[in-house]
Amino acid sequence: MSAVDRDATAAVAPSVSDNGEPLATNSHDHHHHGDTPERGYGPWILVAGLAVALLLRDRVGWLSDTDVRLWSTLFVSVCIQALPFLVLGVVVSGLIAAFVSPEFVQRIVPKRAFLAVPSAGLAGMALPGCECGSVPIAGRLVAAGTPQAAALTFLLAAPAINPVVLVSTAVAFPNDRELVLARFVASFLTAIAVGTWWARRTNTSLLDSVGHLHKHREGKWERFVDVASRDLVHAGGYLVVGAMAAATLQLVVPRSVLTSVADSEVLSVLMFAALAVVLSICSEADAFVAAGLPQFSLTSRLVFLVVGPVIDLKLVAMHAGIFGRRFAIVFAPVTLAVAVISAVIVGQVIL
């Protein structure tokens, strides 16, 4: 990790040690009791951080180093790019928390997993965002009483098969229209398969504590703003962690190492799966990156397009934040494996 974040983290760190809260915790109740005194310290930390940053600027030589500046460009751009989608996501999640009662969810969601999971997948088509927005939404869906498997299916399907993503894929691959179909099918299958897997798990306690909210405000609109801003701050914090990791790895692992494996189909499939995880590119943009690597087979690039929206570094960080670390540890490898297998099979059939 670059030294930039080390310094900047140091500026933020007092808030962590002062109130004795661990940095990464998934125990929501802990926060929602309102027992954290950060509110009082927060503005001062910000001011102090800005002051430190200003002092560092122009004085510390390595801060103007090319690589550091490139790192910061990548890091900030991933954050900025994700922000609108994150905001859209938390607005929806706030609306769910405020206006959707568990009783209502139980009425409209089919009881049986084999119906609930595919319909959740299809519902994912309706959200024109990318992956950052769907994480808080899925969290609130679980909290609102949606079957966990259905919420997870939605989590995986929404960023991959919505109209915006499919259109941008079609624009990026004007001569390979079947790739759009293949992406749709493979992503949908991935979401369904993971959802079904979760539905069949007997131990679902991993998600039990998700999004447990204590009402401390009356009124639906107040609750809406409350939940939306809390989700934004929460998911946004983890997004920043993921963006740092992605920017660092983008710099450390040059994309040109790719060229060395272009000849082997197996290697390039694995390589593209790893690349999708590392680059953490928004699902609306990944098609253009894949289109920019024409020396590889369509199937291996399909793997890139199917893996990216369901699992990557910034998503793992966000899952850990919203659903808990133990969940993320189980969920990430399974999703990755299912996505790769599904993309390879669909690639063989359609492409």
Partner: protein
């Protein structure tokens, strides 16, 4: 959150967002900034009100500690002054080769001097236009200088193609032969160039790996254009 919204709004007004994300992202960003400002304002007012009501028992938190990491990008912005993608980034990624998209190309009107063109269109015409509309025509491109040992008597005129944010940037490059020009990396130039047709077809084994051109004139531009990246749309 107020701060975040305000910073985004400021980036939008100053056009500084252009180095991070594609132009069309400004509208979603604008909406996001408005929502952030509303939320932030609401939280601030509600917070003050509740503090007044009783400071002891009703303490609210704006959220988990991890949320303060949201301030990190702002601190980095202040401390490091990120730059737009340039030569350093171009070194790390293979240049983009457009795939065939058009079946016919409109003829170029060279009567009014050099034809202004996006780098993408230049590459596209050079690589795929069988009617060779590019041949002999002076074309005006704007891009960055990237010095490269492959082009000893010139430079690679480079423009990044960014579809969403800088992290997905891919360089578009034309090898410009300009023996009299020696400019440092990352200089913005407006170059009038003429395509140099390859000896062998581009898509044959042993064919050239880059699109080449001869410079007619290369003029340095003091500032990067407002939109430093090309969009694939």
């Amino acid at each position: 959150m107020l701060v975040l919204g305000a910073v985004i709004a400021r980036l939008l007004r100053s056009g500084g967002f252009g180095m991070f994300v594609q132009q069309h992202m400004q509208y979603p960003l604008m909406a996001a900034a408005v929502v952030l400002l509303i939320f932030g304002g609401y939280e601030a007012i509600a917070g003050v009100r509740e503090e007044r009501r009783d400071a002891a028992s009703v303490k609210r938190s704006t959220g988990p500690t991890i949320g303060w990491l949201l301030m990190l990008p702002l601190l980095v912005l202040v401390a490091v002054a990120p730059t737009a993608l340039g030569a350093a980034a171009a070194d790390r990624v293979d240049a983009y080769t457009p795939t065939q998209t058009n079946s016919s190309y409109s003829p170029l009107d060279t009567s009014k001097g050099p034809v202004e063109m996006r780098v993408f269109e230049f590459l596209d015409r050079a690589l795929w236009d069988d009617t060779r509309t590019l041949e002999g025509a002076a074309v005006r491109l704007e891009g960055l200088v990237v010095n490269d040992p492959d082009v000893p008597d010139g430079f690679k005129l480079t423009r990044f193609m960014v579809s969403c944010c800088a992290a997905d940037g891919i360089p578009l490059q034309v090898s410009v032969h300009a023996p009299s020009v020696a400019l440092p990396d990352d200089t913005w130039v407006v170059a009038d160039i003429v395509w140099r047709p390859p000896d062998q077809p581009y898509h044959s084994p042993g064919g050239p790996s880059s699109v080449e051109a001869d410079a007619v004139s290369v003029v340095e531009v003091p500032d990067a254009p407002n939109d430093p990246y090309e969009s694939p749309y």
